[in-house]
Amino acid sequence: MMAGSLILQTGTRLLLPLLLLFSVFLLLRGHDEPGGGFIAGLVAAMAFALYMFAFDVYKARAILRIDPRNMLGIGLLLATLSGVPALLQGRAYLTSLWWDVEVPLFGELKLSTPLVFDIGVYLVVIGTVLTIVLALAEAEE
């Protein structure tokens, strides 16, 4: 696939970190405001897809560092495991558990199994979309 224009490339170089940051923001606030793992995952995947169009598949793979298929697997694993702590406490699988953690200088942080689950969703969505898009783009070459 031909590389995109210089403007697109420069723009994308700036946009990629912003979009990724935005996706993490969407992910973390998703429990309280519109957002969440699905949406955040789509935004992140879109950011990489944009990068792929601006440069090429190999550059996109390089900047990803991790194969999207592995991301898919890790996401599934996280989501599946997030239900296990409840089992250990003798409660139904995937029952949510919450911990308040005091972080110095940062204040109180809410940690929970649904958050882990949502991160799993996030990774699965990125993994799925990028596995498909990158494989298709590679087939074009």
Partner: protein, 767 residues
């Protein structure tokens, strides 16, 4: 009790291992299990003989009224003892008979599973539980008939038996459900103890017909008798066990079991009496024409099953007593005769009776036991078969109304033929001139003679001392009749009409035996035209028709054209929806268009126009662009109506979809018009039907709320218990997280599928 039955299945599961460890002795080792069960069941005998019945129950599915409940009374104990007792000998017999068979381990699994199912069937008190075991016996029987699955004949016979018995089983299930509904109970003991008779119930006629369809097919009653002789393709121990002593009597068992509740009506008496008698005669008539020893025995089993059905139908105390006696006597001598037939086959390699003769020197023990068992089959004193036959003739003479004429005549004719059959299987192979055999005739090993010895000698002992069988037989008769019959078993009934009939049948039967070869040839000529209308032809026609029909509907519905599938699916949906409304009514639409804002009109109109443009354009680029309008319009609709998460998701997915279409779709050729105008008109009409139906359904459901929305709970608990203020997200990751997890796996599978398809293509290219 539960453990007794479960233990069999457990042992069945490890039987191949036991077989491997114990080698030649495996038959005896595994026979210990039925032997232990026999002793266990025998321990109930004193209580049952005293007129008690024992009921044991464990919960299984309380919500469905299905439980592991078992009932032990005379009838079920009689069956349980026969199943366990004959089971001992069948298993040990098989250990030697199939010694050289490489699948002996599998055989043990099947025969023990069958034993467990059969015991469950006769002991179950819950009718659904009984039905489950009933079907299990059909399935194990199928596997056992087809045990030698390399043979086409065995496979065909197995399938035939399965289709006939399971087809009947379907009717039986419906009948049992009706029985449960009509009587208000799912426990046999409660149904039988019920005060109200079901005779006047509106469901009486259909439930009797359905139950009888089940029992007639299972017990090979005319016109379903044809599957049983074909089932002789099974190894001989199976024939001895399933297709003579136990499984085929399941139908008889159920009729006997329900006789106190359902019997006593003209419908019951006439149906069972006539069908039983016709089956009895058919069996005897077909037996005399057969030459293969197992076929002879199979048809005489059909005859015995008919006799039992007839006796249950007659319904007098005499008939109940006769039925119980005949049941026991038949199981003893028929089990023995089958095993002896296997013994002859084992010793000589010969199955055809006309080729046998003079074996009494080579196989003295086989000969001796065969003679004893055959005398019992023929119903000669002083054997137990004689006691049974005298009672049977007496009961037939005591049948009500016109049956008192028809039944004794058919019974006499059958008795004559059976004497001849008994002589053919009991005398012919052993006496007369010695023949040449495939193998040098030799006596069978002890394991194969123990069963016939015990069973045939028991027939003699019980004949001489009928009082020994009295407690069990009387308790069985009590279960069949529903009340104590007050009768005693006697060998000698004095000089009366049945004795005269016995003498006549003996004389006539021996004459037929003397001229068997020419009789057979004569009957064969008569039967040629009859063969064309025999019930088995009907079965074959039915099966051919079934194959033809399925080929026909596959050609029509699965023709390989995708659009046919789409058309059929969509129009079926429309027909079902419209049909439901048409039949049940309740289609009410009251809609108002006054509370719609202007921008909603605009966006909906835009999406609708874009969709229609997509459907009609011939430019791919225009189609994809319009598709984008549809997608972004959808996103706006979601946002207008309070679904921000959906709006965002839709926009993102829409963008990805465009990327996808750009990457793949434009690699495909441009649109071509394949269809002619007429096809398009037809498709437009079908599509409009679908669209109008969906609109109508949606309009009809507006404002209908049958039960409170579960989301009330989600809204109320989102913050207090799940600490989340975005309720949609809380549902996704907390309340319904398991659903989401499942969806994640679907996504992952789609990705893996796409990846595989693309990468395999790359590999193809390389190679």
């Amino acid at each position: 009790m539960l453990y007794a039955i479960l233990s069999i299945f457990l042992v069945a599961a490890v039987a191949p291992v036991v077989h491997r460890l114990t080698g030649r002795a495996s038959g005896w080792v595994l026979a210990l299990l039925p032997a232990a069960l026999f002793v266990y069941f025998a321990s109930f005998l004193p209580a049952v003989a005293g007129g008690e019945s024992v009921r044991l129950a464990w919960q299984w599915m309380p919500g469905l009224d299905v439980q592991f409940s078992f009932l032990i009374d005379g009838l079920s104990l009689m069956f349980a003892l026969l199943i366990a007792g004959i089971g001992v000998f069948v298993v040990s017999y098989a250990g030697r008979y199939l010694e050289a068979h490489r699948d002996l381990g599998r055989f043990y699994v099947l025969i023990l599973s069958f034993m467990g199912s059969m015991l469950g069937l006769v002991l179950a008190d819950n009718i659904i539980l009984m039905f489950i075991f009933w079907e299990l016996t059909s399935i194990t029987s199928y596997l056992l008939i087809g045990f030698n699955h390399e043979q086409l004949k065995a496979r065909k016979a197995a399938l035939q038996g399965l289709i006939v018995t399971v087809g009947g089983g379907l009717a039986l299930l419906a009948g049992l459900v009706l029985l449960g509904v009509a009587s208000g109970s799912w426990e046999l003991s409660e149904i039988l103890a019920g005060e109200d008779s079901l005779h006047e119930h509106a469901l009486y006629l259909p439930l009797v017909i359905l139950i009888l369809l089940g029992t007639f097919t299972k017990s090979a009653q005319f016109p379903f008798h044809f599957w049983l002789p074909n089932a002789m393709a099974a190894p001989t121990p199976v024939s001895a066990y399933l297709h003579s002593a136990t499984m085929v009597k399941a139908g008889v068992y159920l009729m006997a079991r329900l006789n106190p509740e359902l019997g006593g009506t003209e419908l019951w008496t006439w149906t069972l009496g006539l069908f039983g008698a016709v089956t009895m005669f058919t069996g005897a008539w077909m037996a005399i024409q057969s030459t293969e020893i197992k076929k002879l025995l199979a048809y005489s089993t059909v005859m015995a099953l008919g006799t039992l059905t007839m006796l249950i139908g007659i319904g007098t105390p005499y008939a109940a007593m006769a039925g119980a006696t005949f049941l026991l006597a038949h199981s003893l001598y028929k089990g023995a005769l089958f095993m002896l037939a296997g013994s002859i086959d084992h010793g000589t390699g010969e199955k055809e009776v006309p080729n046998m003769g003079g074996l009494r020197h080579a196989m003295p023990l086989t000969a001796a036991f065969s003679v004893i068992a055959a005398l019992s089959l023929a119903g000669l004193p002083p054997l137990f078969g004689f006691v049974g036959k005298e009672l049977m003739l007496e009961a037939a003479l005591g049948a009500p109304d016109a049956l008192a004429v028809v039944l004794p005549l058919l019974a006499l004719a059958s008795a004559i033929l059976v004497v001849a059959v008994a002589a053919i299987v009991g005398l012919r192979p052993f006496f007369g001139a010695r023949r040449e055999y495939k193998r040098t005739p030799h006596e069978s090993p002890g394991a194969m003679l123990a069963g016939p010895a015990v069973l045939s000698v028991l027939g003699l002992v019980l004949g001489l001392f009928p009082a020994l069988a009295q407690p069990l037989v009387a308790a069985t008769a009590m279960s069949i009749h529903g009340a104590d019959t007050g009768m005693e078993l006697k060998l000698w009934h004095g000089i009366n009409l049945p004795l005269g009939m016995s003498l006549l049948s003996l004389a006539a039967g021996l004459v037929i035996y003397r001229f068997w070869d020419s009789v057979r040839a004569g009957i064969g000529r008569i039967m040629v035209p009859v063969g064309r209308i025999a019930p088995e032809r009907g079965y074959e026609r039915f099966m051919d028709g079934l194959v033809w029909f399925s080929a026909f509907q596959t050609r029509v519905l699965q023709n390989g054209y995708l659009r046919t599938y789409v058309m059929v699916t969509m129009l079926t949906t429309v027909a079902l929806v419209v049909g439901t409304f048409a039949v049940l009514g309740g289609f009410e639409v009251s809609v108002r268009f006054d509370d719609i804002l202007i921008h909603e009109w605009v966006i909906v109109a835009l999406v609708a126009l874009a969709a229609m443009f997509v459907a009609t354009t011939n430019s791919r680029l225009a189609a994809v662009a319009s598709l984008g309008i549809v997608g972004f319009g959808m996103a706006l609709i979601y946002v207008f109506f309070s679904a921000p998460d959906l709006g965002i998701t839709q926009v993102l997915v829409e963008t990805l979809t465009v990327i996808l279409l750009v990457l793949v779709l434009f690699r495909l050729p441009g649109f071509l018009k394949f269809s002619n105008p007429l096809t398009r008109v037809r498709d437009v009409i079908a599509s409009l039907a679908v669209g109008v139906t969906m609109t109508a359904v949606l309009m009809a459901t507006l404002g209908v709320q049958y039960f409170p929305a579960i989301s009330e709970y989600h809204i109320a608990e989102s913050e207090p218990s799940a600490y989340g203020r975005n309720i949609v997200n809380v549902i996704l990751v907390d309340f319904r997280a398991l659903d989401t997890l499942g969806e994640l796996f679907v996504l992952a599978l789609a990705a893996v599928g796409v990846y595989a398809m693309i990468k395999f293509r790359a590999e193809d290219r390389k190679s």
